[in-house]
């Protein structure tokens, strides 16, 4: 171990930060927030153009801004932040040094250069191909090159994460198995390796095509492989934010998983079925067989959906058990009423969890049903769905985690905690409304990625029902409210970093302090109470299931009324 490093024990959380890991987490998180800022500014252009009575940008600017919004948000903001989460879940949670910090900085540099290159290409204006960049529509070579550099960097970061796991094992900084949250992060990183490999398989030939070395990449092959990348990258986000939910439950409540076996088993299901489900983006495509579509879109009989439904129960369930142990034992829901609703880490995670399940989950399974997909494919329902998953689910969870990290990792007192208390509600609830009206407009057929729903200047005409215009107007209003919520997050984060009162570092040491040995079997949780350990959560789960079943069959009813197709 040639690298000299120090370990800091945070006096506020008891977490132990290794110096290199700490700097890397900070750098990745800060760059992530910068991309969120850029993406958020672009969102203003997107949303004010899709608001029919405002219709702000010109067509070419709109398509350019939308391309940049999708890429900066979905790829750069989320993945930079995820790299910070990976380092946290390995080095910090396992109390070990980060493997190969120099290589980790190289990864960071590649990602940053790639992201900047891609952004420059997009803002030069001739790469308005949307984040999916379906061939044969071509962007400039720099567009693909930027993405490839970024992907290589992210892949290296994953290997630094795996290397850190090895360091921890070898240095015996922990006994037995890794914590559940780290287990979730491992799931995310394994999926990331598969994802990035698929991305390389399709982006490299496309790059070669853009510089004229390869003549043609088949349009359908491109779509199929691109979605093996595009879809599984969403599975990384899900694994990462679910790991954060478990972490937040542990931090805010001292909650322990109801059963390690169930929660880890559910993560294993993600790994097993991760390579599936890309078909749900291709259900309306020609040329792919029905058998493949049905098996793939359902993650082989919905086993990954099962896993998500399990996490959706076990996380609030663990919170309920912890709260009941503290004496909030009255009725079904006292534990929930007495939760720390003013703590943005908790409220953010809870709003994320509920929104992800009810809005993102239910709509996702509906859309991913082979036949039902025909009534929403490429409508604005689709961005409605994924703003529920990737904004309400992932982004809001990252925001909630940031509030925890400001004093712990940034070592700053949070500026304006009153505003922070409000932020998850403003951002989360306006996003709830935003995705609902987007889905409403999509159900009426309004297309996504579309500059002018009035078709002015077209040779033919089509008039959308008035309700579609109304919904798109509401998309505009709710979108602006959400953008304000996002701006508050950035103000608090960046402001605390710049002007927040500096907090003390805590004790430094040259060696990691290993975990205290926990006595084996400190009470088998859940077995204490007769009947159900978490009855309130179970009732909520049944409410969820009812909503799910109703919505699912309503859509079948709707489908059964359209033209016959065979």
């Amino acid at each position: 171990m040639a690298d000299i490093t120090t370990y800091r024990t945070c006096p506020r959380s008891g977490l132990q930060f290794e110096a290199n890991a700490e700097k890397l987490m900070l750098a990745n998180a800060v760059v992530a927030v910068v991309f969120l800022l850029i993406g958020g500014i672009l969102a203003i252009g997107v949303v004010l153009t899709r608001w029919p009575s405002v219709h702000w940008l010109q067509a070419d600017d709109f398509y350019m801004v939308l391309t940049a919004h999708g890429i900066d948000m979905l790829i750069f903001w989320i993945i930079f932040f995820e790299v910070a989460v990976l380092y946290f879940c390995s080095s910090t949670l396992l109390r070990c040094r980060l493997a190969t910090p120099k290589v980790a900085w190289l990864a960071f540099a590649l990602m940053l250069i790639g992201a900047v290159t891609n952004n420059i290409a997009v803002f030069q204006g001739s790469s308005s191909v949307m984040m999916t960049s379906y061939v044969p529509m071509m962007a400039t070579p720099a567009f693909y090159l930027g993405l490839i550099l970024f992907a290589v960097g992210a892949l290296i970061a994953c290997f630094v994460f795996f290397g850190t796991l090895v360091v921890a094992k070898r240095d015996k900084t922990y006994q037995g198995s890794v914590p559940l949250v780290t287990f979730g992060a491992i799931t995310a990183a394994i999926i990331a390796v598969f994802t990035i490999a698929s991305g390389a398989i399709i982006l490299i030939p496309t790059f070669l095509m853009s510089i004229g070395i390869i003549k043609e990449v088949d349009a359908l092959v491109y779509r199929t492989i691109w979605w093996a990348f595009g879809h599984s990258s969403q599975q990384i986000n899900v694994s990462a934010h679910i790991a954060i939910w478990y972490a937040a439950a542990a931090i805010a409540f001292g909650a322990k998983p109801m059963s390690e076996r169930v929660s880890r088993g559910a993560f294993l299901l993600y790994i097993l079925f991760l390579q599936l489900a890309s078909a749900h983006h291709l259900l309306a495509d020609p040329g792919l067989s029905t058998g493949w579509k049905v098996v793939n879109t359902s993650y082989f009989m919905y086993f990954a959906v099962l896993a998500s439904m399990i996490h959706g129960l076990t996380i609030p369930g663990a919170i309920e058990v912890a709260q009941r142990a503290k004496g909030y034992n009255n009725g079904l829901f006292e534990w929930l009423r007495k939760a720390p609703w003013g703590n943005p880490t908790f409220s953010g995670v809870l709003i994320a969890l509920i929104g992800f399940g009810f809005l993102g989950g239910i709509s996702g399974v509906m859309m991913g049903t082979e036949q039902l997909n025909m009534i929403i494919h490429n409508t604005i329902y689709v961005p409605g769905h994924f703003h529920a998953t990737v904004v309400i689910g992932t982004t809001l969870s990252f925001m909630a985690l940031t509030y925890f990290l400001i004093p712990v990792l940034f070592k700053r007192e949070m500026i304006n905690p009153g505003l922070a208390r409000l932020q998850p509600y403003l951002f989360g609830l306006s996003m709830y409304f935003f995705v609902l009206v987007m889905m409403g407009a999509g159900t009426l057929g309004v297309p996504r990625r579309h500059w002018d729903m009035s078709f002015s200047g077209a040779a033919m005409a089509y008039e959308w029902p008035g309700a579609a215009y109304l919904m798109m107007g509401l998309v505009g209003i709710a979108g602006i409210a959400a953008i304000v919520g996002g701006a508050i997050y950035i103000y608090i984060t960046v402001g605390s970093l710049l002007w927040g009162k500096r907090l003390d570092d805590g004790a430094f040491s040259a060696k990691p302090t290993p975990f205290p040995l926990t006595p084996a079997s400190t009470a088998l949780h859940g077995t204490g109470s007769a009947g159900f350990a978490a009855p309130g959560t179970f009732v909520l789960a049944l409410v969820f299931l009812t909503a799910f079943v109703l919505y699912y069959f309503i859509n079948w009813k709707y489908l059964s009324q359209v033209w016959g197709l065979s």
Partner: protein
């Protein structure tokens, strides 16, 4: 102990599960299987399934076939661009071209009759979005997708393009009449 600490029982896969979890897993699994059965069952009993009949094609091949049908079954032309309105016989084949930035030709169906609609794109991806019915099908260049359609209502329907296809994307409309 807690989710951010190593589990106190080293053999986590031997952890007991609570009755809440066990019950929920069973319910969720049953629901997953129901949903899977719905998708398979609709192929047997349902009337809206997307055909998988697909051929590799080229611009020239497809245009020639489309032109032949237009020559044979055009009943009138519309708009100042003289777009042909094609009225194929029931059960017959008809070809729809998606290209920057229109759908060609206009098609006329009869209610309750079945037709084989061939779709392709001459250039980029396009999206066949039949409104206000709201049936949406991806149209991919190089592939001829044959969809069997049976309109169950009469009226004038529009084909909106709902796959981004460049700067004229939002003006790409087509039309289907059902008599």
């Amino acid at each position: 102990m807690s989710a951010i600490l190593p589990p106190s029982e080293r053999l986590w896969w031997k952890h007991p599960l609570d009755r809440v979890e066990g019950t929920w897993i069973v319910i969720a699994l049953v629901w997953c299987l129901v949903m899977f059965a719905m998708m398979v069952g609709w192929h047997i009993y349902g009337k809206q399934n997307l055909s998988t009949e697909t051929y590799k094609t080229t611009r020239e091949m497809f245009s020639a076939k489309a032109q032949a049908v237009v020559d044979k079954y055009t009943v009138r032309t519309e708009t100042d661009k003289q777009i042909p309105v094609v009225h194929p016989p029931a059960g017959g084949d008809v070809y729809l071209i998606g290209r920057l930035w229109d759908w060609w030709p206009i098609i006329e169906f009869e209610k309750g009759k079945t037709y084989r609609l061939h779709l392709t794109s001459m250039d980029y991806n396009h999206g066949f979005s039949l409104q206000p019915v709201n049936i949406n099908i991806q149209v991919v260049p190089g592939y001829e997708h044959v969809v069997t359609m049976t309109p169950n209502q009469s009226g004038t329907f529009s084909i909106v393009c709902n796959e981004y296809c460049g700067i004229g994307h939002h003006n790409m409309l087509g039309r289907i009449y059902v008599k």
